[in-house]
């Protein structure tokens, strides 16, 4: 048996170089490699004449490589769920999109209720996993929630106040975005990827740009890479700050909630200073960046950061010194490390369980090869750990941005030349550590160098099930706090 192809983050391979294994070889390679510590990045199907080709991407975090397993089927596969629990969502997705049956997956329920190829009901009006017995009751929450947030449906099976099981049903935000990239790049593609998850515009735009550049054989300048990295860290800072404030709000500690709400805005304004848009729209584009950071702007950013950091330390230190807050954060919503690994958690939620994965370091790319982040972890896997990892990362992001900005007088990354045609029949993968976690984009080109397939995996796609797990045996009243401690994307999942 041949060895599977391995890639580095941000590189590509000819589609014909990817070995097609028999189903049996595929199953055993996947299960063995997962057992050896590889991590599931993606698992998706693509139409190839009358068959479906399945691609499984596994991350080797120790060696910074991505392994690609490929197999094919007409319609029937075995489920790998008992060997790799993390595949469950992906198998459900493939069943919904391509009608593939996975024998052994107990319920191939749609994950998005997409209208293509055919609508199988609506989210919220389908069957749920349910618990029966005396005194067991069901609580339904959503899709329209109390606050200004995206829609999703949460179905709790409870015994008294205790949650026995939580089923998270999404799909309300499904816009058919992935499909809009088939046949691309189009003129709207670079703008479209910025809306995959609006709070992660920079992260997704970067992942997309890296794929396009690799397929075009285009190398962006070091200055452009730094502007992108600065923008990515500003995005992390703003969101982490907002989340710490929201966590404080959810336990009724209003000072930090109120200060962080404002400071988050100040951080968004820093991104606004660079490109005019608080969410970094138009800042990252294939070929470089849409905007520069000239010397004067650099000085202004550094100056404002100093004030913001001081205000933020004051606001957040209140949390750790308040016994009431700590009593609510500690031991609430615990996710054990072994469960986190089994279900394939990524990003800050994984790091809060002690998993040392951060694609800026473990699959280093761009500016991160020069400016190395320290991976922030905690061990307890509870709300406290997820809050604490955010705070550690905030401090680290401030350090990184300063170091990057101070490395030159100014930065000119503006894309001025056409990046050219994309290589036909190639397979490119990029991993970007967004503020929630690892963003994975896969681009496969056709004979004309257009996207024959484009796969987007927002970290939320991996992590929603983690939230469901931590609610087991928790009080239902702890749901808002647990939910906020993950703060996952609805549209990033639903695309």
């Amino acid at each position: 048996m041949k060895k599977p192809v391995r890639l580095r983050n941000g590189s590509l391979v000819g589609l014909d170089q990817i070995e097609v294994f028999t189903n049996e070889e595929f199953y055993s390679l996947a299960a063995d490699h997962f057992a050896e510590g590889l991590r599931l990045l993606a698992y998706f199907a693509m139409n190839v004449s009358h068959e479906k080709h399945l691609f499984m991407l596994l991350a080797d975090d120790e060696n910074g490589q991505v392994e690609i397993l490929r197999s094919k089927t007409k319609s029937h596969m075995l489920s790998l769920a008992d060997k790799i629990p993390a595949v469950v969502w992906f198998e459900r997705e493939m069943h919904e999109q391509y009608g593939i049956e996975f024998a052994g997956n107990h319920w191939l329920k749609p994950v998005r209720f997409s209208s293509a190829p055919e609508r199988k009901g609506l989210p919220g009006v389908t069957d749920y996993f349910s618990v029966e017995g005396s005194d067991v009751h069901e609580v339904a929450v959503g899709p329209v929630h109390a606050g200004i947030i995206e829609p999703g449906h949460f179905r709790f099976q409870c015994h008294g106040e205790k949650v026995l099981h939580l089923e998270i049903e999404l799909g309300y935000q499904h816009r058919g975005l992935e499909k809009m990239l088939f046949g691309a790049p189009y003129k709207n593609s670079r703008w479209l990827v910025e809306t995959i998850a609006g709070d992660t515009s920079v992260g997704h735009a970067t992942a997309y740009a890296i794929n396009v550049e690799n397929l075009a054989g285009f190398k962006v300048t070091a200055e452009a890479e730094i502007i992108r990295a600065v923008a990515l860290e500003l995005e992390r800072l703003a969101n982490h700050t907002g989340d710490l404030g929201a966590l404080a709000g959810d336990v009724g500690f209003l000072p930090t909630a109120s200060y962080c709400g404002r400071i988050r805005g100040e951080l968004l304004n820093l991104t606004g200073l660079i490109c005019g848009n608080r969410f970094g729209r138009g800042l990252v584009c294939p070929g470089g960046t849409g905007w520069n950071i000239p010397t004067g702007l650099k000085e202004e950013l550094l100056k404002r950061m100093q004030t913001i950091e001081k205000d933020l330390i004051g606001a957040v230190e209140l949390l750790w010194n308040n016994a009431g807050v700590m009593a609510r954060f500690d031991d609430t919503g615990i996710l054990p490390k072994e469960d986190a690994i089994a279900v394939g958690m990524v990003g800050l939620a994984a790091r809060a369980c002690g998993c040392g994965i951060d694609s800026r370091t473990t699959h280093s790319y761009g500016a991160w090869q020069r400016f190395k982040p320290v991976i922030s972890t905690e061990r307890s896997g509870d709300v406290f750990a997820r809050a604490s990892v955010r705070w550690k990362e905030i401090k680290e992001s401030f350090r990184l941005i300063r170091e990057m900005l101070k490395s030159r007088d100014g930065f000119s990354g503006e894309a001025s030349v056409e990046i050219g045609e994309l290589r036909p029949d190639n397979f490119a993968v990029s991993l970007v550590e967004g503020w929630r976690g690892e963003i994975c984009h896969v681009a496969i080109t056709d004979v004309n160098g257009k996207f024959r397939y484009y796969k987007i995996i927002d970290p939320s796609f991996h992590n929603w099930f983690g939230l469901a797990l931590v609610l087991r045996n928790e009080e239902i009243s702890d749901f808002p706090l647990c939910n906020k401690s993950f703060n996952l994307s609805y549209c990033g999942h639903d695309l």
Binding site: F113, S114, S115, A116, R119, L122, P123, G124, V125, P143, V144, A146, G147, I148, I149, E150, P151, G171, Y172, Q173, H174, R175, G176, L177, M180, K187, R190, W191, T195, I196, A197, G198, D199, G242, P255, S258, Y259, G261, R262, R264, G265, N269, G272, L273, I274, C275, G276, N277, R278, F279, R281, G282, W291, D311, G314, E317, L318, S489, C491, D494
Partner: protein, 251 residues
């Protein structure tokens, strides 16, 4: 306790005196575009062909730009060497009807206050239910930010409430996905009459970048009578606040 008080003093009083003072927006902020067809090079149409949102129409030597579709990416401005399209710093751009979103060479009509009988009811206490129907969380975030101390929305008597039954209207974001249609309709129905509908962002106004995609319904205006259109992708919080205040006759 002492620490909390000390921090309170350090954090200072931060609420902006808007609308009595004007906000300072970043130099690169893309506000309401100004068009000047006089400057157009005949048969150029570069702006229209480049626009990723299909917001620009160029015919008979006249250009027009639909703010309801525009994502403010500035590609048209960049491409137009004649300078016929320029994005200003003007953040006020909310209007009362879809026709008024079309920017031409002439004047732009900003939103007017709501009807007198409605104003009497909602003028000093205006409660909104926000519904995201396929929004990417950018419009949602920049609406939510109005509750932070800088904007302090409640000082205008405007509040976002949890139940549609307590609301005087809906503020809708997103292109309205097929999967949210039912929930949005039910939420709308649950708001007592008379009610106000506000569409925030290009998606909610026209479907935005997702326009004519089978999974979406091209925004809220397709479903309900919309009283206030707030353009942007996402709109600046100042644009949203300005629109709300115009509706309440506070601007």
């Amino acid at each position: 306790m002492l620490n909390i008080l000390k921090t309170r003093i350090q954090q200072k009083y931060r609420t902006h005196s808007f609308p009595n003072a004007e906000p300072v927006l970043p130099a690169n902020f893309a506000g309401r575009p100004r068009l000047d067809s006089e400057k157009c090079v005949p048969d150029c149409h570069k702006c229209a062909s480049l626009c990723p949102a299909g917001a620009i129409e160029a015919k008979n030597g006249k250009i027009s730009l639909d703010l309801g579709r525009c994502i403010f990416c500035r590609q048209c401005e960049k491409a137009c060497s004649a300078g016929a399209i320029k994005f200003s710093q003007e953040y006020s751009m909310a209007v009362n009807s879809a026709q008024k979103l079309i920017v031409k060479d002439s004047e732009f009509e900003l939103a007017e206050r709501m009807r007198d009988d409605l104003l009497k009811m909602f003028g000093r206490s205006f409660n909104l239910r926000q519904v995201s129907a396929g929004g990417c969380n950018a419009c949602e975030a920049d609406t939510n930010v109005l509750n932070t101390p800088l904007f302090d929305l409640s000082r205008f008597g405007i509040r976002f409430v949890a139940s549609p039954r307590h609301a005087d209207g809906l503020l809708i974001t997103g292109p309205v996905t097929q999967n949210m249609l039912l929930a949005l309709q039910k939420t709308y129905d649950a708001v007592p009459e008379p009610k106000i509908v506000i569409a925030v962002g290009a998606c909610a106004i026209s479907g935005g970048l997702f326009r004519d995609n089978a999974e979406v319904s091209n925004g809220a205006a397709n479903l309900f009578k919309v009283d206030l259109f707030v353009p942007g992708c996402p709109p600046s919080p100042w644009t949203i606040l300005d629109g709300l205040l115009r509706l309440l006759d506070r601007r």
